[in-house]
Homo-oligomer: 456 residues x 2
């Protein structure tokens, strides 16, 4: 919800050009909160308000605005002023931002940005989206290993405006190989010790990522080692940049969203739901729906091949949705359990035999429960012509289909992992599709065996 | 995968009681890595190895062991030694750990832990799981506002062993009301300025959470404001504790897992897949399967009421799975889109009219695509008796069912949000269930209108 509490006041201040009040507005609150109150303004109004903040505060507040507002400010406001802002923005954020701005505008802006910054933007912009390189910033603290803790802290203080974080210091040799890290925490706790140098304090067993690593690898490693920031190196261990905890949190949120969309059969999208053209969105959704629709044709073919039997015993058809959905739902449950447990490292490929055994047992239990429901349903529907023996077709099918669903739902993600694919790619509709077809076949085979009136 | 690279060496060192090597093993690597190499050891072996680490390293390495290994060490090793470890562990982690240990063991340990630590454990343990209170630790830095930056850093250095983070300092008044925060970053950049006190530097516009707030609120706020730690207060703004970035990352991971399980119809579980008794797991899964099974009975009832028609035109049945799954899949897509966009704040309840309009448009596009597939399928199956007009039943139904699916899938999460419920609770099987029944009814109505041979 856009916070419109201050909008009238802000517009009033702008109209009367009330510098004192506007300056107060830009400094009194946490920059994230200031940004929240500005969401309702148009791009040019927001930019005029930001003129009353000093440069560091302006950069901070701008950084907390919604991405769409940022883009619209960059595209519509004075190029000279914007180029100064771009030079001040965190190096990782500005690359993400410029990637979404009109290319013509970016070209104009790049001509105005100082050469060194331009090179940095081009270098970071060259990394593929979703890799460590695309997440990293080049604003890290790198100090010589001969400094004492107190000198290092003083040097950090001098540099702090240009740094994304001061909480880790990276020690590199003359060829920019990463040799060690020292945390600000270590500096602070050794503040009094004049006989220690950074070289004595530094951690040499380093947790790093390579620039080409997937962002999920980055996130998992930062989470596993409880890091505030992780250094990014190339394959020769040259220090390239760092990725900080806030970017890692964003990765986790993004991955969760992507997994949710994929499991419903939609390729994840960069922009918000309302910002994508309806037809483009429809196209993305159509891909999976068509694949699943073709699966639907296969079920129709399977059913038509049993046409005679279905006409001889009409009630068989009534239970088809129950049979298919029971198998599919069980399979989805198994897949979700296996995928989440694989992701969090609670189970491993080598456990496959125990997993199969458990799913078999669970499948039998769950199948038995659903079989009781199936028997009940048959009784309700066929009261008048109820035959205790015939009515066993549905329960027996349910038992078999549920066991089959549990096995397929658990084995497919394991197979995907074995093949080096992301098990989460094996989306729920896919499992359900396989189980649907096999469910029909099992159902008809059971019916053929148990109902004498069917053609063999 | 358990890392068993060092296991034989470790066991050899234990057998020969090789103190020098074991001490080296405990200090040379990052504690997380040391913990990884120890995962394959039995609890008592691991504990014997840890005897060779000094107390802080022992606590660190223990903290990186798997939760199950930690529990088994606490339950099986010397109570006296374990109680010392408990006293040293981070305050939030030890409460989580003790919550999972046998109550009889906890009682014995608590008698051995110093009174002050015992009180802290009891206080933190009283907060309900999933709240800010249950996540927080009480080890934060609280300094008087009259200190100068340099004095504050020196004081932090003295306290640093007992602190979860030194990167924020919390300023409280005599009654422990939170008045402001100062970051270590500010201290470092004002290191040279002797005329500044903490009171001059401190941020007064604070971002806090209450102890009873849900952990999702905590995570969202930390992510939105890019914080390293967030202070937890009671409703009178007394400072109670802090929650650090690593716990927030854990919350995001946990919530992602829970959402994935819920959307497949399983209530989330605390323990790993292989650690839960098969019957208990089956019970959790059965709940949803039974509800959905009852939905299946409803579809059977719906179908049986159209029994005569289905027997008159046998091919109608063949397309039933296609019709039902097309509606269900579209509905799941819409629900996933709306839920993820609501969660990330990209759409709001007030957008409902635009959402309905877009889903209607998209439903028509997607329905049209599936209608073509449906017409194709009818042609394949009914080539011999193909009637161009009759064959329109399936495509027309598909169009209507897909539009209906898109509308239901998008409106239900909005309705849940409107009612103050978590839209993610509206799991996919639920949407699919509703769409199944309505899909059958639409299908039969269309058939009744278009096929002259059906009983009206």
């Amino acid at each position: 919800m856009i916070n419109s509490l201050y909008l009238p006041e802000l517009r009033e201040m702008l109209a009367t050009n009330d510098a004192a009040e506007l300056r107060e507005f830009c400094t009194a609150l946490h920059p994230a909160r200031t940004a929240e109150f500005m969401e309702g303004l148009e791009a040019d109004e927001a930019w005029r308000v930001l003129q009353f903040a000093d440069a560091p505060a302006r950069t901070d507040i701008f950084g907390y605005l919604d991405r769409d507002k940022q883009i619209s400010i960059v595209e519509n406001c004075d190029r000279d002023q914007i180029s100064t802002l771009i030079a001040d923005l965190p190096h990782d954020d500005r690359v993400d931002l410029l990637n979404r701005v009109e290319p013509a505008v970016v070209e104009e802006l790049m001509a105005l940005v100082p050469l060194e910054e331009r090179r940095d933007i081009q270098r970071l912009g060259a990394y593929e989206e979703g890799t460590a390189g695309a997440l990293m910033t080049t604003e890290f603290a790198s100090l010589p290993e001969t400094l004492h803790p107190r000198e290092a802290l003083e040097e950090l203080g001098r540099q702090s405006e240009e740094l994304e974080t001061i909480y880790y210091i990276y020690i590199v040799d003359e060829e920019r190989h990463l040799r060690g890290t020292v945390s600000a925490r270590q500096l602070v706790s050794h503040l009094g010790k004049r006989d220690k140098q950074l070289a004595d304090l530094m951690e040499r067993d380093l947790v790093t990522v390579e620039a080409s690593d997937d962002q999920e690898t980055v996130a998992d490693r930062v989470a596993r080692y409880d890091l505030l920031a992780i250094p990014v190196v190339d394959h020769e261990h040259h220090m390239l940049g760092i990725i900080t905890h806030d970017d890692v949190i964003d990765v986790f949120r993004q991955e969760a969203t992507e997994d949710a969309l994929r499991s419903a059969g939609i390729e994840p999208l960069q922009a918000g739901y309302l910002d994508i053209h309806v037809l483009r969105m429809a196209w993305r959704r159509a891909v999976w729906l068509v694949i699943l629709g073709l699966g639907g044709i296969l079920t129709a073919l399977a059913l038509s091949s049993y046409s005679q039997n279905l006409q001889a015993v009409a009630w068989l058809m009534f239970f088809l949705p129950l049979v298919m959905s029971s198998g599919g739902n069980t399979g989805n449950q198994s897949a979700a359990l296996i995928i989440t447990n694989l992701t969090t490292g609670r189970i491993h490929l080598s456990d496959w035999w125990r997993i199969v055994w458990r799913e078999l047992l669970m499948g039998v239990c769950l199948g038995a429960v659903l079989a009781i429901i199936g028997y009940l349903a048959t009784y309700i529907l066929l009261r008048e012509s109820f035959s205790a023996f015939d009515a066993l077709v549905v329960p027996i099918t349910l038992l078999l289909v549920v066991v089959f669903g549990a096995l397929v739902g658990s084995l497919l993600p394991l197979l995907f992992r074995r093949l080096g694919l992301d098990p989460a790619l094996m989306s729920n509709p896919f499992v359900a599709g396989i189980i649907d077809i096999v469910g029909i076949i099992i159902y008809m085979k059971v019916a053929l065996m148990m109902l004498p009136e069917l053609v063999r």
